[in-house]
C-alpha cells in the first residue's frame, strides 16, 4: 500500500566547476572548465527507496523539491523490500585547510606548472609523454526530513604524468600521480616527471616476471591496493547484506594473521576525506580488522539497520548518483618489522612495487591486482628488475599468509569504481611480507 507522505526524504545538491588540462608531447591539447549543477532526491515509501536525479536543479527551486519528493515517493511504490534506517549520529566536520587554493591560480599558470613537469619527462629514449591536471570544486548542500541541513565546500585537485619509453619496437610505460584535498600540488614537481621517465627506460631492460607460487614483499602502494581490494570491498555492508561477501557472518572471527589491523577512516585529511557522508551521517574511524579479528563492517544507515556489526557513515556517491557503501581512506596499520627482517623472512621470492590497479569478486573471495614492476629477491637480497607482474588469490587464505608488517606506512590517493560510480579514495600500508603468494607472469 502506498503512503501519502514519505517516511523520510533527503536532498543532495551539487553545484561546481571542473577544470582539466591535457598536455601531450609538449603540446597543450586542452585546458578548460565545465559546470555541473545536479541533485538527487530520495524518498522512503512504505517499502523501499524512490529516487529522482535532476540536472540543472538550481532552477527548480522549492516547488521543484516538493515535486521531486512526490515523484520519488511515487516511484518507491515499485519497490518491495521494506527498508529501515538505523539511528545514527549526524554532524559535519570542518574541511581541512587548503595550503594554496587552486581556484586563485589562473588556468594559464596551472597550465605552465603542468607543462614544466611534462617537459622534465622528455628524456632521451622517451617516445611519448602525457600530463593531465584535474580539479573539481563546488558546494554540496544536504538536507533531510529529520531537520538536518549541511553545506560544505569540496575541492580536489591533482596531476598525473605518463612516460612511454621506446627502443627497437619495444615500449614500456611508467606513471606518477599526486592528488590531494589540501590545494595545488604542482609546484617544483619536475622530479616526479623525471622519475616516471627513468623508470619507463629501466623497464625496457627488465625481464618478464616468472609466474607461480612464491613469497612476496608488497610495497606500501601495492599493499594499500591489497587492503582496499581484498579486505575493504568484502567488508562493505551492502555486499554483506546481499550475501555476496565471503566475510558475511564472520565478525568476531580470526580471519587474518594477528599482525594485521585494517582501518577505514574518512576523517583523515587524505584524498578520500568526507566531512559528512552522502546521507548526512557523521563520519568516524572504523576498525575493520583488529589483530586479525574481523570487528566491523562498513555501513550506510540502511545496511547498518539490516546487518548490524559495524559503523554507518560510509555511504558515498559520485556526483548525484545514489549513495552506496564505499571505502574512503583504507589502510593496514604499521607493524614492527624492519625492511631487513622482511627481506630475510622472504629469502627467495619477489618484491612488488607500484600499482596498475586491481579488482575483486567479493562473493567468490577472489582478488587480482597488478604491480607496476618488481625485483627478484634471492638469498634475502634485492636483485634484478622484472615487469608485468601481478598477484591474485583467495581473500581468506591470503589474509592468514601475511607474515610481517613493516613500520613505514604510506598513503596513496586514487579512485575506486563500484556500481558504475567512481569516487576518490586513499589506500595505505607499510611494506608487507606475504607467504605463498600466487604471482602472475608470462613465463612458468
Amino acid at each position: 500500500m502506498a503512503t501519502e507522505e514519505p517516511r523520510y526524504y533527503d536532498l543532495r545538491h551539487l553545484v561546481g566547476t571542473s577544470t582539466h588540462i591535457d598536455i601531450e608531447n609538449g603540446t597543450i591539447e586542452a585546458a578548460g572548465q565545465s559546470f555541473a549543477d545536479t541533485a538527487i532526491v530520495r524518498a522512503l515509501g512504505a517499502a523501499g527507496w524512490g529516487m529522482v536525479i535532476i540536472d540543472n536543479f538550481s532552477e527548480v527551486g522549492d516547488s521543484g523539491l516538493k515535486r521531486a519528493v512526490a515523484d520519488a515517493l511515487a516511484l518507491s511504490q515499485a519497490t518491495g523490500e521494506r527498508v529501515e534506517l538505523a539511528d545514527v549520529q549526524t554532524g559535519v566536520l570542518p574541511v581541512p585547510a587548503i595550503k594554496e587554493d587552486p581556484r586563485e591560480v589562473s588556468l594559464e599558470e596551472k597550465t605552465e606548472l603542468l607543462a614544466s613537469i611534462e617537459s622534465a619527462t622528455r628524456l632521451p629514449g622517451i617516445v611519448n609523454t602525457r600530463a593531465r591536471y584535474i580539479e573539481s570544486e563546488g558546494t554540496v548542500r544536504f538536507m533531510d526530513s529529520s531537520g538536518n541541513e549541511y553545506h560544505y565546500e569540496s575541492l580536489r585537485s591533482g596531476y598525473s604524468i605518463l612516460a612511454v619509453a621506446g627502443r627497437g619496437g619495444e615500449m614500456q610505460m611508467a606513471r606518477e600521480s599526486e592528488h590531494a584535498i589540501t590545494g595545488l600540488n604542482m609546484r617544483h614537481k619536475e622530479q616526479k616527471g623525471r622519475e616516471a621517465a627513468e623508470r619507463a627506460l629501466l623497464l625496457l631492460d627488465a625481464a618478464p616476471a616468472r609466474g607461480g607460487t612464491m613469497h612476496a614483499i608488497l610495497d606500501p602502494e601495492l599493499a594499500g591496493v591489497f587492503a582496499h581490494e581484498a579486505i575493504g570491498h568484502a567488508s562493505e555492508g551492502d555486499l554483506v547484506k546481499e550475501g555476496v561477501s565471503v566475510l558475511k557472518g564472520m565478525t568476531g572471527q580470526q580471519i587474518a594473521s594477528p599482525v594485521v589491523t585494517v582501518v577505514d577512516d574518512p576523517t583523515l585529511p587524505e584524498f578520500g576525506f568526507m566531512p559528512v557522508d552522502a546521507e548526512g551521517c557523521a563520519v568516524k574511524r572504523t576498525e575493520i580488522i583488529r589483530d586479525g579479528v574481523l570487528k566491523n563492517y562498513l555501513h550506510s544507515r540502511e545496511t547498518l539497520a539490516a546487518v548490524g556489526s559495524g559503523e554507518a557513515g560510509h555511504a558515498r556517491a559520485e556526483g548525484s548518483s545514489s549513495p552506496i557503501v564505499r571505502m574512503s581512506n583504507t589502510f593496514i596499520e604499521n607493524g614492527d618489522a624492519t625492511m631487513d627482517e622482511l627481506l630475510e623472512g622472504c629469502k627467495t621470492g619477489i618484491l612488488l612495487k607500484g600499482s596498475r590497479g586491481g579488482q575483486v569478486d567479493p562473493g567468490r573471495g577472489v582478488f587480482q591486482f597488478n604491480a607496476e614492476y618488481g625485483y627478484l629477491i634471492e638469498d634475502g637480497e634485492q636483485r634484478g628488475m622484472v615487469r608485468d607482474v601481478s598477484l591474485s588469490g583467495d581473500i581468506l587464505s591470503t589474509m592468514h599468509n601475511i607474515a610481517l608488517c613493516g613500520t613505514d606506512r604510506k598513503m596513496t590517493p586514487g579512485y575506486c569504481g563500484k556500481g558504475g560510480q567512481s569516487v576518490p579514495v586513499t589506500d595505505g600500508s607499510p611494506h608487507l611480507l606475504l607467504k605463498r603468494a600466487v604471482v602472475g607472469g608470462r613465463h612458468a
Binding site: A30, G32, S34, T79, V246, Q368
Partner: protein, 433 residues
C-alpha cells in the same frame, strides 16, 4: 518526455553569439530520461528516475580549439566564455574547418517508439527476470532493469543541424550459490529484444555449475574467451592501439605495423556504424559515419581518426569521434565494432573456457601484456563443459594471442559497442592454485 528539439532556439542563440567571437562554433546537446529498478536479493529495493540535460560548446579560432560543458541552460553564456578561454590557452593546430551538412542515404534503427521509461514497464521486466531465476539452487543477490530514452543534437556554424533519438533497455542479474557467483546482463535498443529469461538462466547456470569447482595445476593450454571476457581485452588494449591519436603520439604498439601482416590471417575487425547499439549516422564532430576496416587478412588496414587528429596529421576523419572526452569534448572511439575470425568448432578439442576476467583493466595497455584472474573457467571438450575451475590466473600478451588464433565460435554476442564471438587462443600459460 523532453527532447533536444525543444531547445532549438537556445542552440541558435549560442551559435549566433559564438559566431561573433570565434571563427567557427559547434553545439552538442543531449537530453535523456531513465527509469531503473534495482534488486536487493529478490526484491526491488530502489526505484530511480534520472532526467539528464547537458550542453557542450566548442569554438575554433585560428586553429585554437576550446570546449566547455554545462548542465544549466541559463549558464550557456558562461559555458561559451569558458570555451573561448580554453581555446586561447590550447596550442593552435592545423585545422580545415568543421564539416558541412550532408544528406544521409541510410537510417539507423536505435529508436523504439514503444519504449517508454516508466516504473510499470520496468516492474514487468524485473518480475520476469526474477521468475526466470527460480528453479536453480543459486539465490538472487542483486541486479536490475533500466529503461532509457534520449535525444542528441549537433549543430555548427556551417549549417549542420542533426538530431538523433535512441532508446535503451537493459537487465542484469547477480546470483550466488555458496561462494560461487554468476553474473549476466543484456543491453538492447528495442524493448522486444531484451531477453530477461536468458540473463536469468545463464546467471544461475554460472553460479550453480561452478559451486563444485576444483583447483587446476599450472599448465599451458588453449584458452577460449567468451565474448564477455574477450571484450574486456579488446576494449582495453587493442582499441587504444588503433586510435590515430595514440598512433601518431607514439603510444601505440601498432603504429608502425599498418599494411604488415601481424595477426592471424582470418582475424577481422571493423566498425559498422549503422548496425548495433551505438549506431549513428554522424559522429561527435558532425562527420558522416562510414564503415571503417581496422584489420583484415591479419593486417592493420586503418586507424581511427576524429576531425582534429586527422587535420593535425594530414589524414581524413574516419567519422570515429565519440563524446566522452574531458569537458564534453569529442575524442576517438568506435560506434559498432565487429570482430570475427575463422569459424571453427572451438569447443571440440580440450581447452579451458573463461566467461569473465577479473583485473583486465590492469593490463599494460601499450605492450598488450596482461595477467588476470579467470572467472567461471572450466575445461571443455567434445562441445561439453567438463570440470569447473575454482581459481586460475591467465597471463599473456593480446597482440601475440591475436597472431595465434585457433578459431572463433559460430554465435556472436553484442557487448556494449562490440559484437563478437567466443575465440580460441593457442598455448597460453595458466597459473593454478
Amino acid at each position: 518526455m523532453h527532447n533536444v528539439t525543444d531547445y532549438a532556439d537556445l542552440v541558435e542563440a549560442v551559435l549566433a553569439k559564438a559566431a561573433r567571437e570565434a571563427d567557427e562554433a559547434e553545439v552538442y546537446l543531449s537530453v535523456s530520461d531513465h527509469v531503473s529498478l534495482e534488486l536487493r536479493r529478490s526484491q526491488v529495493g530502489e526505484a530511480e528516475k534520472a532526467v539528464g540535460w547537458a550542453l557542450g560548446i566548442r569554438t575554433i579560432t585560428d586553429g585554437h580549439i576550446g570546449a566547455s560543458m554545462t548542465m544549466s541552460p541559463a549558464r550557456w553564456e558562461d559555458c561559451l566564455a569558458a570555451a573561448l578561454a580554453s581555446g586561447r590557452i590550447a596550442d593552435p593546430q592545423a585545422w580545415g574547418g568543421l564539416p558541412e551538412p550532408v544528406q544521409f542515404s541510410r537510417e539507423t534503427d536505435v529508436f523504439d517508439s514503444s519504449l517508454v521509461p516508466d516504473a510499470d514497464t520496468a516492474t514487468d521486466l524485473i518480475t520476469a527476470l526474477c521468475g526466470a531465476a527460480e528453479g536453480g539452487e543459486a539465490e538472487i543477490a542483486g541486479g536490475g532493469v533500466s529503461l532509457g530514452r534520449g535525444s542528441a543534437l549537433i549543430a555548427n556554424t556551417h549549417g549542420i543541424f542533426y538530431t538523433r533519438e535512441a532508446t535503451s533497455a537493459s537487465a542484469s542479474l547477480e546470483v550466488i550459490n555458496g561462494t560461487s557467483t554468476g553474473y549476466e546482463f543484456d543491453h538492447v535498443t528495442h524493448l522486444g529484444d531484451l531477453n530477461t529469461e536468458r540473463v536469468a538462466e545463464e546467471a544461475v547456470f554460472l553460479a550453480d555449475y561452478w559451486a563444485g569447482a576444483g583447483d587446476v595445476d599450472s599448465c599451458t593450454a588453449d584458452i577460449i574467451l567468451t565474448p564477455t571476457a574477450l571484450s574486456q581485452l579488446i576494449g582495453g588494449i587493442l582499441m587504444p592501439a588503433l586510435s590515430g591519436r595514440n598512433v601518431h603520439a607514439g603510444r601505440s604498439y601498432l603504429a608502425d605495423k599498418k599494411g604488415e601482416p601481424c595477426m592471424d590471417p582470418s582475424f577481422v575487425l571493423y566498425d559498422d556504424p549503422y548496425v548495433g547499439n551505438g549506431a549513428t549516422r554522424w559522429d561527435a564532430d558532425g562527420v558522416a559515419t562510414r564503415r571503417l576496416d581496422f584489420i583484415g587478412d591479419g593486417t592493420v588496414q586503418s586507424f581511427a581518426y576524429d576531425l582534429r587528429t586527422a587535420y593535425r596529421y594530414g589524414q581524413t576523419s574516419t567519422g570515429s569521434a565519440v563524446r566522452s572526452g574531458a569537458g564534453g569534448a569529442p575524442e576517438i572511439g568506435v560506434h559498432c565494432l565487429k570482430l570475427d575470425a575463422r569459424r571453427d568448432d572451438v569447443r571440440q578439442e580440450k581447452a579451458i573456457s573463461a566467461h569473465g576476467l577479473i583485473g583486465a583493466h590492469t593490463a599494460n595497455t601499450i605492450t598488450g601484456d596482461f595477467s588476470v584472474e579467470l572467472s567461471n573457467a572450466a575445461w571443455v571438450e567434445d562441445g561439453e563443459y567438463g570440470a569447473p575451475i575454482r581459481s586460475a590466473m591467465l597471463s599473456g600478451n593480446l597482440f601475440a594471442m591475436l597472431a595465434d588464433i585457433a578459431g572463433a565460435g559460430e554465435e556472436k554476442r553484442e557487448i556494449g559497442r562490440m559484437t563478437l564471438p567466443e575465440v580460441r587462443f593457442k598455448n597460453l600459460h595458466v597459473i593454478g592454485k
